[in-house]
Symmetry: C2
Subunit: 126 residues, 2 copies
């Protein structure tokens, strides 16, 4: 990887049930296919690994210079408003040479909400 190497870390809540992670694995594959030059990783807040910290560690070890954290949460609650900023502040201290960016929750994206609404409207009519 070169000096502009980017890591995209898809950050999800996590759950006890391993099957819970399946859709996030699909998103990871699709993002990796769309951005083959980036290092795309999953990370989890609870129950599953790697943690965000471990995923950032790994990205840095593999040469990433820019890290985009993408919270795969439906909406902004305490996890995204308090916990995640705290975690990212700590990561910035631990990795002063890395450039961090945090994207908004899925529910902030009109096109995703519309995709959800379309799917609900079609499915509920079936």
């Amino acid at each position: 990887m070169n000096s502009s190497s980017q890591a995209i870390i898809l950050f999800a809540h996590g759950a006890r049930d391993p099957e819970w992670a399946v859709p996030f694995g699909i998103v990871k594959q699709q993002v990796q296919a769309a951005r083959p030059e980036a290092q795309v990783e999953l990370a989890f807040q609870d129950f599953m690994t790697p943690t965000l910290e471990a995923a950032v560690e790994r990205a840095a070890a593999q040469g990433a210079r820019r890290v985009t954290v993408v919270p795969l949460f439906m909406a902004q609650g305490g996890h995204l408003k308090q916990d995640l900023p705290r975690m990212v502040a700590k990561l910035r201290e631990q990795h002063p040479l890395l450039e961090f960016r945090v994207m908004s929750a899925i529910g902030e994206a009109p096109e995703i909400l519309q995709a959800i609404s379309d799917w609900v409207s079609r499915g509920a009519a079936a």
Copy 2:
């Protein structure tokens, strides 16, 4: 409402932060616009109201005969595999004349996962 009246109940996790519910309110409006003949309601598992039970009660009182429960959860974990089926089984007992249907989690819909992946890929590149 007539005897074929349908209620669509968008069932979300809930959170302590009221702002968390905003995207779900947008989905509700969009689904209602797409399905003007249906009664579209939000319901929450925790922290927020109405509960699923209260939303079904209200739908039944307003003449619904068919209830479609749409879990607005990213993925299938304990909430959707254990808690929700238990809740729906109880609702079927409480409302024997209502026809219940439960849709799958958002993460089971390829078009929604693709919308998420597209948004991540575009946003992370910006």
